[in-house]
Subunit: 301 residues, 2 copies
């Protein structure tokens, strides 16, 4: 029996990041046919948005070197979106060749992470994104922007809210349809989430992307829902390791999120049983148990 | 930098259950000197209430068979309360002999669990508790009542809220100063928490006791705080296995709770670093990593 809570949305879109953000951060390299089956299973479980892969250079992310082949193998289910991550113009051209109609770019909210991850300054990252977004839009391709390190980074400590808003508004200004505010190192807490979201003018243009490194992902999600966000990033099975603690999880597990939303009577369209059996199947192939609490609990039941 | 959230309390009491509820459910039997050191470390880290052990029959819970010796060894820190669990009159007498000034009793919110755990009906459990509470109060001993299976149990499904309230109000009527509402199997979600707490007349007499079996413990805690509860049960290191999933956690980890409360600017008086080093030390002795996300993250740092 669901127990709704005042001030929460009726319906939530779960933006599934497992195949890209999850598998990109797993130490094993998963065969392309397994990836394709993983994505097909996610669609079958009811997912409407599945970030499929990344057109990043294979030297940087060997886990996703098979992006072209994977997209060729995908059995696209009608009504399901399959965005891909694109780091630059070359990646965008590969995506366009494959007929991709939705991409995501990956920006940084902090100076140090911009330097380390993008080899750019906080300011000059926009010069890199501008032509990518422009060419994508010219080709009728929608663009989502990840903003990473929105709550803190390992070098600079807490990220000033005004700085996140400034980066985010500029990305929206380039023409991105949505920002995914990432707590890349998982340090945020619910009041911080509320403060960050309410600092933006348009909560309806925001998604949140929480990592469970400090166990805060679901509490933070609750705060985000209360603040008006209705798109939540999550990774089926919680796959995607965290570089700061091998045994800790990275992404919020889709199953744990669905458990909460279902209890709250919030519609997601997802079949929890199918998600759990997908995660159990994948965990066996990855050779380690899923870090999702729900998967752990239900797969023993 | 803390980010407070509207509608939350300024201060929270963490009722530490690790030495009793945690160690009682661990498969290893921990030597009494380790238990005593564990409790001393918890007090040193700033805990003001530490449930030390249980005067249950050693045949039922061999893990805590050393309750008398443990209490004799305890270096009581001024200002710290050390309640013990007491199942019946015989247990109470042992506790009184040891000079215990605060006990807890363990009731059930469901018929089936009352039968399985107490060998009583839902109704007749009060006959068992009544003389225990009366004799305790006569001796100047405060009594807390745990109410288990408040959100659901494995046999009957969701527990009706009216039934939990009825059990709880009767326990308060016997003279208990506080109810600890337990989600023993971890199935609750935030709206359910709000509904249950607001169904009671006195939220100031309530504590909550969440299990993280489905990853919901911290989100549920946030809902409880919003509903006016200011006492939260937690187990340092998240110790205490869950019988339904070996690898899943049982109790909410004190460290994960402190991370959230600290971020919210809510005072707990606890030293997170000392808690984490205590959990790391204990995990080594228990021969398995702490299930606390915060302990996992910070002990690798």
């Amino acid at each position: 029996m669901p127990y709704p809570m005042e001030g929460l949305p009726q319906q939530v879109t779960i933006y599934e990041v497992g195949p890209r953000d999850g598998l990109q951060n797993e130490s094993s390299i998963v065969p392309v046919e397994v990836k394709a089956e993983f994505i097909d299973r996610l669609a079958d479980a009811g997912h409407k948005v599945i970030e499929a892969t990344s057109f990043v250079h294979p030297k940087w992310v060997p886990q996703l070197a098979d992006a072209d082949e994977l997209l060729a193998r995908l059995r696209r289910k009608p009504g399901v979106r399959y965005p891909v991550l694109v780091p630059n113009l070359r990646g965008l051209d590969r995506a366009l060749e494959r007929g991709v109609d939705e991409i995501a770019i990956f920006a940084s909210a902090t100076e140090t992470f911009a330097a380390k991850n993008l080899n750019r300054s906080l300011e000059s990252q926009f010069e890199m994104f501008e032509p990518v977004v422009a060419r994508a839009l010219d080709n009728g391709v929608r663009v989502r922007a990840y903003v990473s390190m929105c709550f803190g980074d390992p070098w600079e400590g807490p990220t000033p809210i005004a700085q996140v808003v400034s980066v985010g508004e500029r990305l929206l200004g380039l023409g991105c349809y949505e920002l995914s505010l990432g707590d890349t190192i998982g340090v945020g807490t619910p009041g911080h989430v509320t403060a960050l979201i309410t600092a933006f003018r348009r909560p309806d243009r925001l998604a949140v992307h929480f990592h469970d490194t400090y166990g805060q992902a679901l509490g933070n999600t609750l705060a985000a829902l209360r603040a008006g966000v209705t798109t939540i990033d999550a990774s089926t099975g919680g796959i995607g390791g965290c570089p700061y603690a091998e045994s800790a999880t990275g992404n919020l597990a889709t199953e744990d999120l669905v458990w909460m939303l279902r209890g709250l009577g919030i519609e997601t369209g997802l079949d929890l049983g199918k998600l759990v059996s997908t995660s159990t199947w994948l965990a066996e192939l990855l050779g380690r148990p899923s870090p999702s609490r729900v998967v752990q609990a239900l797969s023993k039941g």
